[in-house]
Every structure is written in structure tokens, then in C-alpha cells.
Symmetry: C2
Amino acid sequence: MFKNKLSKLIRDKNSLLSIGLDVDIEKIPKFLLREKDPLYIFNREIIEATKDIAIAFKPNIGFYEALGIAGWRLLEKTLQLIPSDHIIIADAKRADIYNTSKKCAEFYFENCNFDAVTVSPYMGTDSISAFLEYDTSGVFIVCLTSNDGSCDFQYLNVDDEPLYLKVARKVLEWDLKFGNCGLVVGATHPEDLSSIREIVPTIPFLIPGIGKQGGNLKYSIQYGTDNQASAALINSSRNILYASDKFNFAEAAREAALELNDEINKFRIQKNEFLT
Amino acid sequence: MFKNKLSKLIRDKNSLLSIGLDVDIEKIPKFLLREKDPLYIFNREIIEATKDIAIAFKPNIGFYEALGIAGWRLLEKTLQLIPSDHIIIADAKRADIYNTSKKCAEFYFENCNFDAVTVSPYMGTDSISAFLEYDTSGVFIVCLTSNDGSCDFQYLNVDDEPLYLKVARKVLEWDLKFGNCGLVVGATHPEDLSSIREIVPTIPFLIPGIGKQGGNLKYSIQYGTDNQASAALINSSRNILYASDKFNFAEAAREAALELNDEINKFRIQKNEFLT
């Protein structure tokens, strides 16, 4: 089961850290461009330097897709670098009518062996159920995002509550049936995470927006984790990957990852102390 | 401009027909499996047999992505088969935070030369603007879908109207700024198309759900086209592609396409007669 794997990892490694592998040729250290396969070398070094700190890696599929066939090859090779005792999340934000979603779920879960995928809720139950039917895999449904545009629809008022809470309520239904739901909730609105947590007390949150997007870590932990300061993944991408553009980039990424996870754990301890 | 190209095509070829290239190894005629590249041969024969009837082809990206690297190669080769006087739509249903959407838009519009792409609205303005900034390309925003799950969120009541009308209103804003918006509106709720048309009188609709999904053609034309029975693409996929699983599959596809376009034009004439 996906949730068991996640909670065991959180406990065993004392970490909520997910690293987003948003690999970008324009951002990696220039000296790597002399290599035959610079993006692969970059991913390899980042994964090697951080795999004992992070419990999840999240390739942002858009960045690989953008490279065409070379990108899918890079993704395939990158996946082989990630040890199996990690959660690997395809940040794909997919969902379409059932028969298309089914193809997509087959690809990500069966062919690529991802542990989890992110999906977009707008098309409703049958667009998501094709993913949920893989009951050993995780499905993180986009609920409240970290970008400015989150205000356009997610905050619209439906029966006296914002739309994103309706999404959370629907996800609770799906989770009761399938047992493998998660939610994507952005760290830029940390105070709004508490109302989502009330609806789904135990469902794992994938929390992006820490770092470049300006999310507030303390309140994300306080409101976004469950009642044991667990059941969440805090994702950071650019702040870790591009911590340095020099020869020491992997070491700098490791330091950034360590520092972030220490911060996370400090706030988890604060929350646990408050609860006991 | 995308809209000019579309309206010129509709006028010159007297057609609203889009054919969805949802190519599936389990559904193509068995005899093709003896070929070295059966899916490519299938697409080639379908495009050849229907290109004088259809004005648009819409590869469903999920079906290609599901095949891994071979699928992207197939897509690349298939795109080369479609004459440039057609609209080619990437049915991708993408959208993410701006920098990811930007990568995606670059890939579909610059690298692959698609004329248009479908995107999902939930993440709001900055997740879509990366696509809209390509002002000669079309961006079809998912508004009201043809699947059962459309009821879960799209029909939620916001300020006394369903959420999908809020999406239409936001798209109108985007269109006033960028000028290249379209809407995806499913044919399974044809009566609901009229309320969307009231909000966006001239924006092109991409209307899937005709055929296997049981959409109602007559009312889709009546309510989904503009006041000249134009500004819409009626998409059919499986009913045309898999009209026959015998040697005559391409001919059967051609007949199905002709028959559908004749039906479409019959209803367009009825609408025009009613309007004059």
C-alpha cells in the first residue's frame, strides 16, 4: 500500500522531504555542458547527494516532455537512479475521460513504475478513477495550488465554502473507496491548509511552493501535517537543485536539503510538543 | 491568427469536422499487425482517406505518451502526414505553474508545430497564459466535458450559476487580452452549450463526445456554433477510426467522416435558415 510505504519512510528516515527534479539545461552548472549527457549527470549527482535525506523524488514531467524523445530517455534513465526505498512521484497533472486516463495510468504505474502521480480534478470521478484503481499506487489530486492563478477558480464560493474544499470532500469519498488518495496543497496559502486538514485528517499532502514560490514552511507543517506531524511531503525543487552553479553544486544541494529537512523537523517537533 | 485560419478553413471546405487520432493497437484492424509500424500505417491511411473532409486532426496525446518513446516517434511521424492547411490540435489537457506551462507550450507550439492545444483550467490565469502568449496559436480551455464526472465539479453552483460558466467568463477575459482562446465543451450536454454561447458568442468551441460518448449532434450545432453556424469543431474519434476492422478500414472511415460532416452541415443549414 502506498500510504504504508510513505508513513514507514517518514518514520524510518525522519524526513518529509521530497525533491522536485525540474531539470533545466539553462539552470544547471555551465561546466556540465561539456559532458555528453549533462542533464543525466546533473540528476545523478543530485540524487546521489540527497537520497539519504529525501524520502521522495518528484520529476516534473513537463520538463522532460519538453525535451521530446531525449527527455523521455532522460526520465527513464533517471528513474533507474532512484533507490526503491523512495517514493517516486510523476508530477504530471493529468486526467481526461476514463479511457485516456487509463492509458496514462498504465504508462506511469506499469511501464515506468512510479509510486504516485499528480492529477487534475476538474473532469471529476471517472477521469481520476482510472488512476485510483491501481490501489497500491498513490494519486495526489490537485486541490489548492501555490500559484497566483489559484485565486481564479479554487477560491470561488460554493455553498459557503471555497471550491478547493469541495475538491477535498470529493477526494475523501474517493479515498474511502480506493484508499490511495493524496492531495496537492500549495504552501503559499498555509493558513488555508487547516480547513483542508479538518476534512481529510489522515490523507497525505504533497506540499510544493516551499522556496522559490515563497511558501511559509512553519505554517505548512503546523496546518498541513496530520496529528502526528506526519502524512505530508514537503517538496522543494529549484532551491535545492540550483543551490550552486559551481563545481560544488551537488554538495550545495545536499546542504540545502539537510537545512530544509532540519527546519521541517524543528517545526514538526514544535507541533508535537504543542499536541502533547 | 488561429481564429482566422479556422474560420477560413470552415468556409473554404464547408466543414466543422475534427478527427481525433486516438490510435490504439488493440482496436486497429488485426491484419495491420503484420506491418513493421502498424500504428503509423493506420494513421497514414486514416489521414489520407479523410483529409479532404476534416479540417482538423486532434491527436490525443495520452495515447501516444502511453507508448513511451515509440509513441513520441509515432506522433512526430504522424504530424508530418497532416497537410499544413489543417488545424492540428494537441489534446493534452495540460497546465501547471507558469514555468512548467511555458516549457509545455514551447514543446507543443515550437518544437512540434501544433496549431492548438487543450488545457485544463483549475490552476487559473498564470497556468494558461504561458500558452496564450503564443498569439498565433489556439488554446482550447476545458470548460464542460462529456464524461459522467463532469457533474462532480463543473456543475457546482457558484453565484447562482454553474462553475463551467465561471470558466467561460474567465476565458472571455483571457480572449479579450490574447485573442486566441477556444473552449472544450462536450456534446453530451448540448442544451447547456447555449448558456456558454451567450457568454462567448464568437469564441471557437471544440466539441468532443459525438459518437461513442453519445453526444447529441443536432443540439450541439444549434447551441454550440456561433450566429453563422460556424466557430466550432465537431470532433469524432472512435466512430471514424474504427468504423471497420477489415481491409476496407480507411474507406469505411472516409464514409463515416462524410456521413458525419453531411449531418453536421444539414443541421448548420437548418440553423442558418432559422436565423434568416
